[in-house]
Subunit: 400 residues, 2 copies
């Protein structure tokens, strides 16, 4: 049964398989077991909020991938993946959150049978060791259940193949960017003394899911982060029911999402006249972002972006180091980053056309936080394209 | 610096520590390392969307717990936990998603230093092996970094302490239930032919975050699940931009959330006259739910609830087995279940007053899906209390 509404062309999935299999060959893998929901979706189209139980995609060197998961979710697989029904395997509900059996025992049987059909008596099987959805227990059970297999760490093997976005993917990310702009404008417009934060977040979420003319909104992999004042000195606090206050800055870290693709964006709003040190930092940040985007060229490295940013900040007396961005695209909770390249000085990954990053140099100070960021696309030539149309500045809303 | 707005009294946290330490003693643990964000929040108050990087709570047998995480999130810890600043440890950003170093190397140093202060040369340290936020890689690195320690599987040790809800917690769950009812009523009222699904979900989310007079809304650990027609044969599909159609059933699996506490609820709406087999199944499900709730009494077991449900369904020719519910309360994505007890026939866990469950017997058939569920509270005497006020039935919306 063909999937009803595949996000991408079959040619696109074929290209993804080819790239992934080349990377598997470099590790001499017979089979790759993919647990990252983003990787599963990227390879097969699978989409559903079922990643809280064990599931994954089994990718042999030849033949179609196999989706494996809880039986009740195999019906979701039939509705979303491009493979035939014969390539969908469901395990019994008795394996779910049981203390006496584990889904990896079921998986092991399928992996061994597949290896046997391939003629590999001691198969080399790649697993994503560093992933939210591949627990220490899962690995221990799988290892014990297959003493004849070699489990090889293939963390981020698929994620790396996702770094350069296809034309089809760029269309999705641009749709997400339109939604990001739409909800950011809403946040900037509505931010006001007395505005309850949770109600503002509710409006942001509603607008994000409504989407824009370009497309309906999917759920972003991270909820809106919208802390104010002292709470904004921390990077990842969510909201509460308090009212926004004069003399406080609020940063909005938001992303639209179109069919699981993201384009994160941050802007900061200060209610009332902003303190001098924040204005100074905001200007430095604008200069740093401009310098970073100027350095974000094909052939340069991720580290070059960080260095360009940090040099501008340093000129202005701001000593910031650490990570200031990451690749983005297809994602599921809890993170919209791809967990491969980091924009930081020590990262020498080469920038290539079609890569997309959230260039994200937040400043979290003693008494306030400031986030002005861009989702950028590396072009064939010249500096990166920033996908947002929202002014790159600190928004100061004076009472009158 | 005391936390600004702790959800619970200090006495409540003290009780939680005492219970958890008794369970640690049963496993002869010197230290427990807690990665589950729900467990971290339950023990310390920590709250933030930072669980996509490695972090956790270090609980020694004596003294306050220690929150450990990324340095930028240590500022969030200062804003949310009840411990002193001295009990908050931040690791450097260079550890984040690095291919050359791992946060568990930093954690190991702190654990060993703590064990040393406690005089344990070969400490027994509990870790949550089966958890989204304790990866296979994390365990491998931690094991290698502490050859002198014994890492003991303490999966769900804290989760089990959470099973019986305190009076303070029950207040939160009741607030969440009011929000659940509010958004379910909205979904039922708005479901209509031509209604775009994503816009309905946007409205549901907005209303859930606005909350009710009883409290502002937090983000639920699972997004609204709202599949229609053939998509509702699968349990966990999310939404798209299509319009709702006549002759289709849509189930709504929703939860309000108050300060991370949930009260999930499902109802199903059929547009147009419902087919006979669905009406029959809906009536059987109502009877089964009533029988299950009748059996959900202190002293009975989780299995008793499942048996009572299944007997009623069987009377009506519906052969359903498998899991039909789980404990709920405090939670973070990707799951609002507590992952301890399962409501299924083989589970002999004793029901105790104050336990809360999502009693969730979904029926996913060949051509439609039906979900009618209840969040229930085990009482001192008599059958459980269902927290929702929404009619327990299939909602059939005829065109006129």
């Amino acid at each position: 049964m063909p999937a009803i509404d595949l996000p991408f062309s079959r040619q696109e999935y074929d290209r993804r398989l080819t790239k992934t299999r080349a990377a598997m060959q470099a590790l001499d893998l017979d089979i790759l077991f993919v647990t990252d929901p983003s990787n599963q979706a990227w390879l097969t189209g699978y989409d559903g909020w079922s990643f809280y139980v064990h599931q994954g995609v089994i990718l042999p060197q030849e033949g179609d991938p196999i989706w494996w998961g809880r039986r009740m979710d195999s019906f979701g697989a039939r509705r979303t993946v491009w493979m035939q029904e014969s390539e969908i395997i469901g395990y019994d509900d008795s394996y779910v959150q049981s203390t006496t059996r584990h889904p990896m025992q079921d998986l092991a049987q399928h992996l061994l049978a597949l290896a046997d059909r391939q003629g590999s008596a001691r198969p080399r099987i790649g697993v994503e060791m560093e992933n939210y959805y591949y627990s220490a227990k899962a690995h221990a059970v799988l290892t014990n259940a297959m003493p004849e297999a070699h489990l090889i760490d293939a963390t981020a093997l698929v994620n790396w193949q996702r770094a350069v976005k296809s034309d089809e993917e760029q269309v999705f990310i641009r749709k997400a960017a339109r939604i990001s702009d739409h909800i950011m404008q809403l946040a900037i417009d509505r931010a006001a003394p007395g505005q309850r934060k949770n109600e503002l977040v509710g409006d942001i979420m509603q607008a994000g899911i409504y989407g824009t003319g370009g497309g309906w909104g999917d759920y972003p992999a991270i909820v809106p982060l919208t802390p104010s004042g002292q709470d904004a000195t921390a990077a990842h606090l969510t909201w509460d029911g308090r009212e926004m206050q004069m003399e406080e800055a609020t940063f909005f870290e938001l992303s639209g999402c179109y069919r699981r693709y993201h384009a994160p964006l941050c802007r900061t709003v200060h209610l009332g006249p902003a303190p001098k040190d924040m204005l100074h930092a905001a200007q430095a940040l604008e200069d740093g972002l401009a310098a970073g985007i100027e350095a974000a060229r094909a052939g340069n490295t991720a580290g070059d972006i960080a260095r360009a940013l940090h040099a501008e900040l340093k000129k202005n007396g701001i000593d910031r180091n650490g990570r200031c961005g990451y690749p983005i695209g297809l994602s599921y909770p809890p993170d919209w980053g791809e967990r491969t390249i980091s924009i930081r000085e020590e990262d020498n990954s080469e920038l290539r056309p079609g890569m997309t990053f959230h260039f994200m140099p937040g400043l979290w100070m003693d008494n306030w936080g400031l986030e002005t960021t861009e989702t950028i696309l590396i072009r064939d030539n010249g500096p990166a394209e920033a996908l947002s149309q929202i002014d790159r500045k600190l928004f100061v809303k004076d009472a009158d």
